[in-house]
């Protein structure tokens, strides 16, 4: 085990796969000479050369459509969107082509899109979004949202190995803030399996990404309530069994995400719990999410937008006392 930041773990996972499998290559804006806007691929071009770490023009459709073509030809592209917000420019290539090609034409599209996402540092409306629910709605795509360094590395390797288009949402606010032990060498973390981040008996929190830590801090504030935290790790496919198991255990559930509320993936989870575990509930399912606005820039506005520890603590308290 080595202690690594979340960002170092992503680099380590990517480097591990590129050393093992020469089909894997990286393409994106500023990923080569500059090492990526967040330095995830720092030093990669020196090690792997300019044709495996490709500096693309500012052209998301060429990057994602190009990755799709290269994948059909047998390569394993890992394309970086500089910010997950910019994936909107490549919607067609992801949603119209990559997501549907296997179902309608039998062609697997093994591509990974690395998507630095999330807010918390005044990135404003175009550098802070969490668009995972938009893509989780598209049949054929997989959406992975790791919270810990260990999962970030293992899930990235799984994503590269996966025969489908995988969107890898890496939370920018975790990049350098979160540091933990990461296994050395190659390992995979299965896509679609949740992890019990924290065991508890009174209330379940179902969440992913940076909100795992918000939930953890909120739980610590409530000394007298035993909180269970289920880290989904991926929202498509998502671990329904693990969620239902936790709901049946605690009978009270808070669904928490940083994305906006209406039509957010939390709505799907809440609806599933209502359909399949209604009799096990002792309280209505509660959702905490961002309000239905773009992500604001100024610190007090952004603080009001992103669910805070106090908001989650209050929600947990409300459920515990229900």
């Amino acid at each position: 085990m080595t202690e690594m930041t979340y960002l170092q773990a992503i680099s380590d996972g990517l480097r591990t796969e590129m050393r093992r499998d020469k089909r894997v290559f990286v393409i994106g804006e500023d990923v080569g000479v500059y090492g990526g806007a967040f330095k995830v691929t720092l030093g990669f071009q020196e090690e792997f050369g300019p044709w495996r770490v490709i500096d693309a023009p500012l052209a998301e459709t060429a990057i994602v459509g190009g990755a799709t073509g290269a994948a059909i030809m047998g390569l394993r592209p890992v394309a970086e969107m500089q910010f997950s917000d910019f994936v909107s420019c490549a919607w067609d290539h992801l949603v119209t082509i990559a997501a549907k090609q296997h179902w309608r034409a039998g062609t697997p599209i093994p591509i990974v899109l690395r998507l630095p996402s999330g807010g918390g540092f005044s990135g404003g409306p175009f550098h802070s979004q969490n668009p995972e629910s938009s893509f989780a709605h598209i049949p054929g795509l997989k959406c992975v949202c790791p919270a810990t360094p260990e999962d970030a590395k293992g899930l990235l390797i799984s994503a590269i190995e996966d025969p489908n288009p995988v969107l890898f949402f890496e939370h920018k606010h975790l990049y350098r803030r979160i540091k933990a032990e990461v296994p050395e060498g190659r390992y995979t973390t299965p896509i679609g399996k949740a992890r019990l981040y924290q065991e508890g008996t009174d209330v379940s929190v179902i969440t992913w990404g940076a909100m795992v830590y918000t939930a953890e801090e909120a739980a610590q504030q409530l000394g007298d309530v035993s909180v269970e935290i289920v880290d989904l790790r991926s929202v498509m496919p998502w671990d329904k069994a693990a969620v239902l198991e936790s709901v049946r255990k605690t009978s009270k559930v808070l669904v928490l995400h940083e994305d906006t509320r209406t039509g957010g993936f939390g709505a799907e989870i809440a609806a599933t719990i209502a359909e399949e575990a209604f009799e096990d509930l002792d309280a209505p399912v509660k959702r905490i999410a961002a309000p239905d606005t773009p992500v604001p820039f100024s610190p007090p506005l952004e603080k009001a937008f992103i669910p805070q520890v106090e908001d989650v603590a209050a929600g947990l308290r409300e459920l515990a006392e229900y």
Binding site: P57, A62, G65, G69, Q101, W103
Partner: protein, 348 residues
Amino acid sequence: MAIAREAEPVGSLHEVKEAGLDREDLLGIYRNMLITRGVEERGHILYKQGKIPGSFYTGRGNEAASVGVATAMGPDDVGTPLHRDMGVHITRGVEPWKIFAQFMGRIDGPARGRDGNVHMADQNLGLIAMVSHLPAMLPVATGCALAFRIREEPRVALGWFGEGASARGDVHECMTLAGTRKLPIVYVCDNNQWAYSTPTYLEYATEHVADRAQAYGFEGVVVDGTDVLAVYREAKRAVEKARAGGGPTLLECLTLRMEGHAVHDDAFYVPKVMFERWAESDPVERYRSWLRTNAEMTDDEEGSIGEQVKALLNEALRRADESPLPEADDLTDGVYATPEELETPHHK
């Protein structure tokens, strides 16, 4: 003023031989053009018989462009043909009965009823299935060329688009990437002069679409898309240039849309005189007459090719009609690929 090179027509048999085609090849091209037209004509009949769900599109008038370019492809080259490019599928060897099955939404169509029209491709023949968002296929073709460059393989990708699609940003983005990286790709623009009801002067402001190539740092060529041999010659040059490391070419084929956008469209907006002019430059008739004059195609040869094609298509229709409609119980299968599907030589 045109910036792109305007290609000369092909004249004599001698010139054609220099371009690498022997007499057998020439008759093969004629046969492929006849099959292409025949598949679409019979598709029209199937549509009128109510056997084709949804709408139906043809590439009537585009046979020389599609067959000419596909004839110039090497066996390991790949491409992303669109809905006016039936000739590419035929030339690469897709069996007509599977195309009819595709039209009718049957289980033996390449898309097994999950998609219709020419939204199909046989990847073993180097073709990738198109989507309706036509220009979105060009970045995919560019990605194929990128893979060839990364692996240093002597292979070429061909990406098709229409002059209508040329307005989309995808085209600009992938040509920028291909130009900067000198990728082995040929962009083929089938300029059939109408994007649904929109005429060319409302689609682009240059003289030719191919004039844009200069802005991306590669060559633009305009060729008469009703002259199959000229198309072949220019496509061959472009393909071999790309293979040799010379980078991309934008090849614009000036072609025709002898019918409406799709079966439901009577094309009232196309001036009548234009249809009359198109009828006079029908690419199939033009080539037939060239073969008679320049390659001594005999009555027997012409008759025999026509009969063979007719028999092929009749048998194809019969076989396609026997193909069952898909069962709905596997509708949700295959949304995701399985790891075993990557255990192919292609993906190893």
